[in-house]
């Protein structure tokens, strides 16, 4: 089975092979980048080819009977195995499609900022994507855990990329929290699950029904297991396990954009939703009366994180806290345990991804073009970078949940589910959080478009400040880019500190595309809704 080339396996092999080729092509940057783009394209094609199978009307009838795709027997009766289901499909599709755009963006960013160790960067990125694919298609908890840990390990070098003392410290926080939670809680939960049920597979209705029925597992113990899982999946950034995410912002922006707004954090919430649906089973949790605490913890996370975001002046940190809060939207939706709310969780995994990656892309292009990292430096920047800030506005609207953006769709489903389950708390949280979202995003947009840019002299100081905060960065950096974008870079440098334009074109193309997708998702969300509906069908007995 190891050499089986069916699509889910191929989706893991393609980025792995891509990583190898990228490593070999390290000496020829253009070939290396072409390989990255080619791999991303091939992966997207492969992932997309699985979709029709998942949307087939008799999918669930076949699901229970179909054997998983077994790679290898790691321990007696514990297999590394893959099995495709709608939730994983949504996740893989998002990660696969955004990797293409993100690669384009990375090329602009890494060259525009003359980052070092670019080959390592692209290799680790491809490896991280391979882990994401394995996670999305994991057929049992063991496989999920394997790829979850692989994802932590392969993203560590990306966070520590700059190698400065600050980067290393943040990377330590990153690794420390993610490994501690996964080893102490998640692994303990998985082994305990195996000890109680002898079954790690993802099944409709969960695996605990028999153990609960014959009394070998009591409801309170089930509750403890649930806690182990929810806090063990540190990537979901449920407070107080969220500190790694702001720390990870020290990474180059493409990493923050794809991994720490989409792939890694979504790996967390995806695992949370997956475990709730296929390991515990919503009905089991409801009948055992466990897990309702999660609604309140997630609600608290949403509000507290939004509140912290209000006071962050560093743009990427503000976005990071916004991510923490948005992730808990997904968790709160999953915790409501109704079919509609689980559908909302699935949709929000998709909807949040497009908006947030746009915001990070914008933050990265501001940094590349002007070296500004703080919100207070952004006065009037919308006039110099209209595309970037326009895209930023769309992303922000999506975070707030206003039409016509993706965020509106998922928020609609979430509020419907909250009405249906009669959780007033959830409705209050969503309303308050919408206000907070508006309060921390709208001032940025106002500043960018409606405030006059600072006079040249003070701009110089502001820029100088930005440099001083980033001592590793060579002052004459942009011209060091390898040729391709030499013109733009020269331009921004020659005109001195105040008069920069847009970032290199690959970045602008990438961020405009994601912004366009964010809007398009509002009008054409059929695919995502179809997949979510398919997921919902699987929940109804």
């Amino acid at each position: 089975m190891m050499f089986d080339l069916s699509p889910p396996l191929l989706a893991i092999y393609i980025p792995l092979v891509g990583a190898l080729l990228i490593a070999l092509a390290g000496r020829w940057p253009n070939l290396r980048e072409a390989l990255t783009l080619g791999t991303a394209g091939a992966l997207l094609y492969t992932v997309a080819s699985i979709v029709p199978k998942v949307l087939a009307p008799n999918f669930w009838a076949a699901y229970a009977k179909a054997p998983p795709l077994r790679l290898i027997e790691v321990l007696p009766d514990v297999f590394l195995e893959l099995k495709v289901e709608p939730l994983g499909m949504v996740f893989a599709l998002i990660a696969g499609s955004l990797w293409v755009l993100n690669s384009l963006y990375s090329i602009g960013y890494m060259r525009g900022n003359a980052e070092k160790h670019q080959t390592r960067f692209y290799v680790c990125f491809a490896l991280a994507i391979a882990s994401v694919m394995g996670l999305a298609f994991a057929g049992n908890l063991f496989t999920l855990f394997v790829f979850y840990e692989m994802l932590t390990l392969t993203t560590y070098p990306l966070v520590a990329h700059k190698g400065t003392a600050e980067a290393l410290r943040s990377a330590r926080t990153y690794l420390g929290i993610l490994v501690t939670t996964s080893v102490c809680f998640l692994l303990a939960g998985i082994i305990a699950t195996y000890a109680y049920t002898g079954d790690l597979a993802f099944k409709q209705g969960g695996v605990f029904t028999r153990a609960l029925a014959d009394g070998s597992l009591t409801a309170p113990t089930l509750g403890v297991l649930f806690i182990l899982y929810m806090y063990g999946i540190g990537k979901a950034a449920l407070m107080p396990m969220h500190r790694w995410l702001p720390a990870a912002m020290v990474a180059p922006t493409p990493v923050s954009a794809l991994l720490h707004a989409v792939a890694v954090v979504k790996a967390g919430v995806f695992s949370v939703v997956k475990v709730i649906i296929y390991t515990f089973g919503p009905l089991t949790l409801i009948s055992a009366g466990q897990g309702s605490w999660l609604i309140f913890m997630a609600g608290a996370t949403i509000l507290i994180a939004s509140f912290i975001a209000l006071f962050q002046d560093n743009l990427k940190r503000r976005l990071a806290y916004s991510t923490v809060s948005q992730l808990s939207y997904i968790i709160i939706a999953a915790a409501l345990l109704s079919p509609l709310s689980l559908m909302a969780a699935t949709l929000h995994i998709a909807a949040h991804a497009f908006g947030k990656i746009t915001l990070f892309f914008a933050a990265g292009s501001i940094y590349t073009a002007s070296h500004k990292t703080e919100i207070s430096q952004l006065d009037g920047i919308g006039r110099r970078m209209p595309f970037t800030m326009g895209a930023f506005t769309i992303g922000a609207l999506s975070m707030i949940g206003l039409p016509p953006t993706a965020g509106f769709i998922s928020k609609w489903y979430l509020l419907s589910a909250a009405w249906e389950t009669e959780y007033v708390f959830v409705i209050v949280v969503v309303v308050l959080s919408t206000l907070l979202n508006a309060a921390y995003f709208l001032p940025i947009i106002y500043r960018a478009f409606f405030r006059a840019p600072p006079p040249p002299g003070s701009a110089h100081r502001a820029d100088h400040g930005a440099f001083a905060e980033d001592p590793e960065h060579p002052l004459d950096h942009p011209t060091a880019a390898d040729g391709l974008f030499g013109d733009e870079a020269d331009h921004s440098h020659a005109h001195g500190t105040g008069a920069h334009g847009e970032a290199p074109w690959p970045m602008v193309v990438a961020l405009c595309s994601t912004a366009a997708v964010t809007v398009a998702f509002f009008f054409y969300s059929d695919l995502a809704i179809d997949l979510a509906t398919q997921l919902r069908k699987g929940l109804l007995p």
Binding site: I72, E73, V74, L75, P76, V78, F142, F145, V146, E149, M150, L153, P157, A160, G163, A167, L168, A171, R172, L175, G176, V179, T180, V183, C184, L187, A188, I191, A192, Y194, A195
Partner: protein
């Protein structure tokens, strides 16, 4: 024509015993090394044959009576799945480290002593293999002395006869002798009361004679053996000899000892606690579980924290070894199938990982003459293969999935969860792996993300070091991805030790 198959158990001991002494006569240069490699290679091959024999036999036991003396009078060599497995590990690791030793020994030991070094080296392996193969309690002691005395000598040969190596060796000599005397006293008392030295017979007498288990002689024997064995296994807090010994010993010796010596100590504990005294006495009548599990848990945490604070990487790994030994002891102290299986599996897994990591440090010593945390800065680029081996080994110690360490942890945690009210021990196992993250990650960070102090060109280690190193590390990955073999052997061994049907 001698029938090799029929005499396997004894050949495994006699070949290195005789050939080890002959090593002195092999002369200078590469010859002692080539001879030692040939001898250890042969022994490794024989242990593979023996393993096949055990797996093929109907009873799962191969018994060999020396000189055809019945076992009541003579010495019986007795091999089942457990010791065939340990023999395979000791001989396999012994062979691979012998191959590795060439370059390292050339650098660290004066050329005129190479023949002595390899002679002692092969004899040490002979002792370790002998302890594992024999079914006779006194024979265990004799071979224990052979291995101990040779190991003292090996440690004392540390770099340039470094003064640290001599005191480390002396310290080990004193503590090791105390431990060995305790074991001897224990065996003596046991013989006094049972009238036999054969392990099987001892067990039968202890079980059959009424009231014998309550006698003070048996209790004292048990106590002496437990303390003596704990010393040999380097169980916290009786581990004080180990960190210095591993730090100052020649690099190849550190790799060999870390992978085999304490493991054989654990094997002795298996035999005495499970085979001779039996589970019902050792773990139900006596509070052994409480004592061993407490020592092991405290040991895991304390040595983990100590390892984090070390700047000398060999010393760091030495402390880590004591901690990892804690896992092994913790596992079998639970006296249930998963716990003991985890313990048996970890003997293999830890031998591969730690052996490979010590080899990587040996390569760093080879190229730089030292191996502290400063000397690995930026080494990720200069010695990529060596540092990659160290990193992968470190991930194994942490117990990342798809490394061998994960397999051990899987069984251990299950074992802890199965014992009622013992679940906090599962927490200790998991917290121990977090400490391992911290101490390995210091090295990873320094090697890959920090700039070296100076720009001296440093060459990658020679192939003769890299190949054995990667054999060990590669095997640790292999047994992490496909642990069905380890898992089956470990569970079989655990079931037979615990006396539960298959």
């Amino acid at each position: 024509m001698l029938d090799v198959q029929a005499h396997l158990p004894v050949l495994i001991v006699t070949i290195p015993l005789i050939c080890g002494v002959l090593t002195i006569a092999t002369g200078k240069g590469w010859k002692p090394w080539a001879w030692a490699t040939a001898v250890t290679g042969t022994v490794f091959y024989l242990t593979i044959l023996l393993m096949q024999q055990v797996l093929a036999s109907a009873t799962g036991v191969v018994s060999y009576e020396l000189g055809n003396w019945p076992r009541q009078w003579g010495i019986e060599y007795r091999v089942d799945a457990l010791n065939a497995f340990i023999l395979l590990i000791v001989a396999g690791v012994g062979f691979v480290t012998t191959v590795y030793a060439k370059k390292s020994v050339e650098k660290e030991i004066p050329a005129d002593r190479h023949n002595f070094f390899y002679a002692v080296w092969v004899l040490a392996l002979c002792g370790l293999l002998g302890i594992t193969v024999t079914g006779d309690a006194f024979n265990v002691y004799v071979l224990l002395e052979i291995s101990s005395l040779t190991v003292y000598a090996l440690i004392a040969m540390g770099k340039d006869m470094h003064r640290g190596a001599l005191t480390a060796s002396l310290r080990y000599l004193i503590l090791g002798s105390v431990g060995a005397s305790f074991i001897l006293l224990g065996i003596g008392y046991l013989m006094m009361i049972t009238g036999t030295l054969n392990m099987q017979d001892m067990h039968e007498r202890l079980m059959s004679v009424p009231g014998i288990l309550e006698s003070r002689t048996v209790l004292v024997a048990f106590a002496f053996l437990l303390v003596g064995l704990s010393m040999k296994m380097a169980l916290f807090p009786l581990h004080m000899w180990l960190p210095r010994a591993y730090t100052y010993a020649p690099s190849a010796v550190s790799a060999l000892l870390a992978a085999t010596a304490t493991k054989v100590g654990v094997y002795m504990a298996f035999r005495f606690l499970f085979t001779i005294f039996g589970v019902s006495f050792s773990f139900i009548a006596m509070p052994t579980t409480l004592v061993l599990a407490t020592c092991a848990s405290v040991g895991i945490i304390v040595t983990g924290v100590t390892a984090i604070r070390q700047t000398n990487l060999k010393r760091m790994l030495a402390y880590s070894s004591v901690g990892q030994l804690g896992y092994i002891v913790l596992g079998f102290s639970l006296a249930n199938v998963n716990g003991v299986a985890g313990s048996v599996a970890h003997i293999l897994n830890h031998a591969l990982m730690k052996g490979g990591m010590f080899m990587a440090l040996g390569a760093i010593v080879y190229s730089q003459g030292r191996c502290d945390i400063r000397s690995v800065r930026g080494l990720g680029r200069k010695m990529p293969l060596t540092m990659a081996a160290f990193t992968v080994g470190g991930l194994g110690l942490v117990g990342f999935p798809l490394t061998a360490g994960f397999i051990s942890k899987w069984y251990l945690v299950q074992g802890c969860l199965e014992r009622p009210h013992m679940w906090p021990l599962a927490g200790v196992v998991l917290i121990g792996s977090l400490l391992a993250v911290v101490y390995t990650w210091r090295v990873v960070e320094a090697a890959y993300f920090q700039e070296p102090d100076d720009d001296r060109p440093i060459a990658e280690a020679p192939l003769l070091m890299l190949i054995p190193m990667w054999l060990m590390i590669g095997a640790s990955i292999f047994f992490g991805i496909n642990a069905t073999f380890t898992g089956k052997i470990a569970v079989t061994a655990a079931r037979s030790l615990l006396g539960v049907g298959p």
